[in-house]
C-alpha cells in the first residue's frame, strides 16, 4: 500500500483541508442562523460565542491552508511542462488533459475556474470570522451585517463546492502523481487464484 508524495499532498489539500471546510460550513450556517437570526432568539452564553468564534476562525485557517497548498504546492506539479520527447504525460496532468478533446475542458473550464474561484472562499470566511468576533451577540441587532455574514458564508461554501468538485474530477481524469513513494503497509502478492 503505497502513495506518492504528490498524491499525499493532493489528499491533504482536497480530502483534508478542503473537505473539512465543506463539512464545517453547514455547521457554521446552522449556528449563525439559529442563534443570531432574531433579537428574541435563544440565550447566547459567553461559551457559545467563544465556540463559534473559534469555529469560524478555524474555518478561515482551513480555507487559507487549502488555497495556499493548492496554489503553491500542487498547482506547480499540475502545470509542469514535460521535456521534449517525453514518452508519457502521466506526470504532467495539465498537458495530459489538453492532449485529448474529450478531456481538455476539464482544464480549460474546470481548472481555470477552480484556481480563481477558490480564492473567494478565504476572503469571504475571513470577513465572516472577523465581523462575528467584533460584533458577536450584537449581530442580532444588526440584521444587515448578519445577513452579509450569512450570505458570504453561503457563497464561500458554493465556491468551495465548485473548487472541490472540479478538484475531484481533475484528479480522477489526470491525477497529480510522481515524487518519491511512501509505503504505508507492506502487502503480500497473491499467487494463482484457487
Amino acid at each position: 500500500m503505497e502513495i506518492t508524495v504528490r498524491g499525499l499532498w493532493t489528499m491533504i489539500h482536497g480530502m483534508g483541508f478542503g473537505a473539512l471546510y465543506l463539512m464545517a460550513g453547514s455547521g457554521a450556517l446552522v449556528e449563525l442562523y439559529r442563534r443570531y437570526s432574531s433579537p428574541l432568539g435563544p440565550e447566547i452564553t459567553e461559551q457559545d460565542e467563544k465556540f463559534l468564534r473559534i469555529y469560524l476562525t478555524a474555518m478561515a485557517v482551513l480555507a487559507w491552508l487549502t488555497v495556499l497548498t493548492g496554489a503553491y504546492i500542487i498547482y506547480p506539479w499540475y502545470r509542469a511542462v514535460p521535456p521534449s520527447g517525453a514518452a508519457s504525460l502521466a506526470e504532467f496532468p495539465q498537458r495530459l488533459l489538453m492532449s485529448s478533446p474529450s478531456t481538455s475542458a476539464w482544464h480549460s473550464i474546470g481548472m481555470e475556474w477552480k484556481e480563481h474561484v477558490a480564492w473567494l472562499v478565504p476572503i469571504s470566511i475571513t470577513m465572516a470570522a472577523t465581523v462575528f468576533s467584533q460584533y458577536r451577540r450584537s449581530l442580532r441587532i444588526h440584521p444587515e451585517l448578519r445577513a452579509a455574514v450569512l450570505g458570504f458564508v453561503w457563497i464561500s461554501l458554493f465556491a468551495a463546492g465548485i473548487a472541490g468538485f472540479f478538484g475531484a474530477m481533475l484528479n480522477k481524469n489526470a491525477p497529480v502523481t510522481g515524487g518519491s513513494t511512501i509505503t504505508l503497509f507492506q502487502g503480500e502478492a497473491q499467487g494463482e487464484q484457487k
Partner: protein, 115 residues
C-alpha cells in the same frame, strides 16, 4: 460588543456598524479584484508576465497576491474611516453582494472569455 454588568451578567451594548461594513465591502472588492486581475492576466501578455511572481505557480501567484493586497488595503482604509460611524449598511452590503456575485460569474472561463 458585550460587556459584563456588576452582577456579572452579559450585557449587549450598541456599537456602530462601520467596522463591519468596512469588512463586508472590502471582501466584496477583494473577490472582485481576483476576477478582474485574472481576466487582465489572461487577455494581456504584458500583464500576464508581470503577474508571474512565483514561476512554478505562474500568473496565478500575481493575480491572487495583488487581489489580496487590494482587499487588505481597502479593508484597512475603510476600517479607519468608518470605525466609529454608522454607515448606510443596506447599500454597502448590496454593493458587496453584487461584487461577490460578479466575481463568481467573471471567474467562470466561458464568461471571462467574452472580454
Amino acid at each position: 460588543m458585550s460587556a459584563k454588568t456588576a452582577a456579572g451578567a452579559p450585557q449587549v451594548m450598541l456599537n456602530p456598524n462601520g467596522a463591519g461594513a468596512a469588512a463586508v465591502l472590502a471582501a466584496g472588492l477583494g473577490s472582485f479584484a481576483v476576477a478582474v486581475f485574472a481576466i487582465l492576466a489572461d487577455k494581456a501578455a504584458p500583464i500576464k508576465s508581470l503577474m508571474n511572481f512565483y514561476k512554478p505557480t505562474g500568473p496565478l501567484s500575481g493575480v491572487t497576491t495583488c487581489a489580496i493586497v487590494i482587499w487588505l488595503a481597502v479593508w484597512a482604509l475603510l476600517h479607519r474611516r468608518w470605525l466609529w460611524r454608522n454607515v448606510e449598511i443596506g447599500r454597502v452590503t448590496a454593493a458587496a453582494f453584487i461584487l461577490l456575485f460578479l466575481s463568481l460569474l467573471l471567474t467562470f472561463p466561458p464568461l471571462a472569455d467574452l472580454f
